[in-house]
């Protein structure tokens, strides 16, 4: 049996784990305490497995769990994790610093004409007040998902003949009346957003993540961030509240404002999720400026692989909206032959255009 003191310790560990970026709610913590109850609290490996089985919910959680377990209970973890342990850092929320600095600034009343200006303005050049307003405008977007043909058919006024229903009506009346028709239904198509959060994308990363949050609330979407490594933030963006979602995403992304290794991170995405289904027949949107620090041959190879798996690949480059832009960045050059579209993404208007492109994909 676990005493009150022991369970307080377990709950404390769970809290530390949550701080380390593992989303373990009270229900999971309860299960953890119950699991330890069934095992031997005195045995380190039992506590380790009880926690790993109840508090974690995806492979990304495992290195975080191992790190938190080692930090809380000291020493080494009972089982060496199979993959390299990734460093976990506790970043401030993406927006916190900015919000604190401008916390006292009066809310700006923005007129309709200002909205028009704001829509076209480069996100990188916005003032803090404009940024706040942009967030509101982003939250008001109403994206519609792209669709694909489904397997199922539904009765319709015209289309192919529906033998079953036609036969049924014949049986009911005893004679051939009007033939019944059916058509295929449609289902929302998957959307994948890969967002570059490296240093060179810094002015756009926050807005793009917020954009992803808005999109994620409306359609089936997978969101990953690209940098020196790949981080899946779909779960973090599931929070209804944008601020909470951004804070959760910031906790999960350890390489915010670092370098970019596009080829490698896209490869990790394809290996771990893409090939198994996330990218298959999906509309994949890569938001990146295309500055590749790694091997461009690898990026070309991965872009080709992505192109083969996905329904459409759209590359969004914030710099593509600037005057005199030429796609000369090493990454873009490598990936360009395998893309369906190259779009700008530096302002609200261009993000709108992107949504339209995704919808029609």
């Amino acid at each position: 049996m676990t005493g009150a003191g022991a369970s307080t310790g377990l709950v404390g560990f769970a809290r530390a784990l949550r701080h380390g970026g593992v989303a373990c709610g009270p229900e999971r913590v309860q299960a953890f305490v119950a699991a330890v109850d069934h095992l031997d609290l005195g045995r380190r490996d039992h506590v380790y497995w009880a926690g790993r089985l109840t508090l974690c919910s995806e492979p990304d959680d495992l290195p975080r769990y191992d790190a938190a377990f080692a930090a809380w209970f000291g020493g080494v973890t009972p089982q060496k994790p199979g993959r390299r342990t990734r460093q976990t850092s506790h970043l401030a929320a993406l927006t916190n610093g900015e919000a604190k600095r401008n916390g006292q600034a009066p809310t700006l009343k923005v007129a309709a004409s200002d909205v028009e200006v704001l829509r076209r303005k480069d996100i990188a050049t916005l003032s803090p007040a404009e940024k706040r307003h942009l967030r509101e405008l982003l939250a008001a977007l109403e994206p519609t998902p792209p669709t694909r043909r489904a397997l199922r058919r539904t009765p319709a006024r015209r289309g192919t003949i529906d033998p079953r229903r036609t036969l049924k009506s014949m049986l009911a009346t005893g004679e051939l009346t009007r033939p019944r028709h059916r058509r295929r239904t449609t289902r929302p198509r998957k959307v994948v957003l890969l967002i570059d959060v490296s240093g060179s994308m810094k002015p756009y990363a926050d807005a793009l993540l917020r954009f992803a949050h808005v999109v994620a609330r409306r359609m089936p979407v997978e969101v990953c961030t690209l940098g020196t490594r790949l981080t899946r933030v779909t779960r973090q963006l599931r929070h209804r509240d944008p601020e909470q979602a951004m804070a959760a995403a910031a906790r999960a992304v350890p390489d915010y404002e670092g370098g970019t290794r596009l080829g490698e991170t896209i490869k990790v995405f394809l290996d771990r999720w893409g090939q198994r289904g996330a990218a298959r027949r999906a509309v994949v949107v890569v938001c990146s400026d295309g500055w590749e620090r790694g091997d461009t041959a690898l990026l070309a190879e991965q872009a080709q692989r992505l192109g083969r798996l996905a329904h459409k690949v759209i590359w969004v480059n914030p710099h593509a909206g600037h005057d005199g832009y030429l796609p000369v960045q090493s990454g873009i050059v490598a990936a360009l032959p395998h893309l369906d579209r190259l779009l700008a993404g530096h302002s609200l208007d261009t993000l709108h255009a992107l949504l339209e492109e995704v919808r029609l994909a």
């Binding site: 089985l53 974690c56 289904g277």
Partner: protein, 292 residues
């Protein structure tokens, strides 16, 4: 029973679990929680459920998920043709009371139990919900309802509750992220490829005709292939296939030439086979010795 004893029981039926798997199965059994197994294809998720059923001497009921699966395929369905026949038979026998006839149609004898209902009725048993990631989101919600209540309500019949909850094992290959609400109800276990010694032991256990030397060669070759960064790294299932292929060919040793000709048993992509050949993983194999 302790986790160690459960591990031994699994060992006896030919499944060699590590500490994590044994603890996970032990907790699933004692906490009456479904066990959610995720991992690379071929790490033994499905065979865990099969082995658990054999080790605990319980019937195994399997529900294979696929896109578009719904309640009539997973839970229950009414046997329309039989109901129709029954109604015709009643009519032929003479004038029928409509209410009575209708009531006689919706009884247990016309109910087709699909895997989930079958598991509730046959409990204790092991229920394997295989590749749950292939089903639609709507199905998850419905599965969640059945798993959390251990009962199901059929409008025409009433509530059917399992006397003892079945041991539920869900597997997923992560083609899609399963909803958090379902995962929260479960114990989560991520399965890794086994280490070399365990893989050799698995090969020897499952294919008694394989010599220690051949098992070791196959296991270490597969390990080298896994390290190669392939599109589809081979799992334990593939090493078993490979060893079996070699056994069928009557080979007692894995040399470079045999390896190249039987590579199709382990690698299923042209790019992977090319990468393996060009990386030279298969060459110099004849010289490799046990313990290398």
């Amino acid at each position: 029973m302790t986790p160690e004893e459960l591990a031994e029981a699994l060992d006896r039926v030919g499944y060699l679990p590590d500490a994590g798997i044994a603890t996970a199965a032990y907790l699933a059994l004692n906490m009456h929680r479904p066990l959610f197994c995720e991992g690379e294809p071929g790490t033994g998720k499905t065979s865990l459920a099969v082995a658990l059923a054999r080790a605990l001497d319980l019937p195994l009921i399997r529900l294979q998920c696929h896109e578009g699966i719904d309640a009539t395929q997973a839970l229950y369905d009414w046997d329309f043709p039989r109901q129709l026949l029954h109604l015709r038979a009643l009519e032929a026998a003479g004038p029928v009371d409509v209410d009575e006839a209708e009531a006689s149609l919706y009884t247990r004898r016309f109910l087709l139990a699909r895997p989930l209902l079958q598991a509730l009725e046959d409990a204790p048993c092991v229920l394997l919900v295989d590749e749950v990631d292939r089903a639609d989101d709507e199905f998850e919600a419905f599965l969640l309802e059945v798993l959390s209540e251990n009962s199901v309500t059929i409008p025409e019949l009433g509530r059917i509750t399992a006397p003892t909850p079945p041991l539920v094992v869900l597997t997923s290959n992560r083609t899609r992220e399963v909803h958090d609400a379902l995962k929260r109800r479960c114990l989560y276990h991520w399965l890794e490829h086994p280490d070399l010694a365990r893989e050799v032991a698995i090969l020897r256990r499952r294919l008694p005709g394989v010599s220690e030397r051949l098992a070791h060669q196959v296991a270490s070759a597969v390990r080298r292939l896994r390290a190669l960064d392939l599109l589809k790294p081979p799992g334990v299932a593939e090493s078993l296939d490979w060893a079996e292929a070699l056994l069928t060919l009557g080979r007692t040793e894995l040399d470079a030439e045999t390896a190249a000709t039987t590579l199709g048993a382990v690698l299923k992509y042209r790019e992977d086979a090319q990468r393996a050949l060009s990386a030279g993983v298969l060459t110099g194999m004849a010289g490799s010795t046990i313990g290398g």
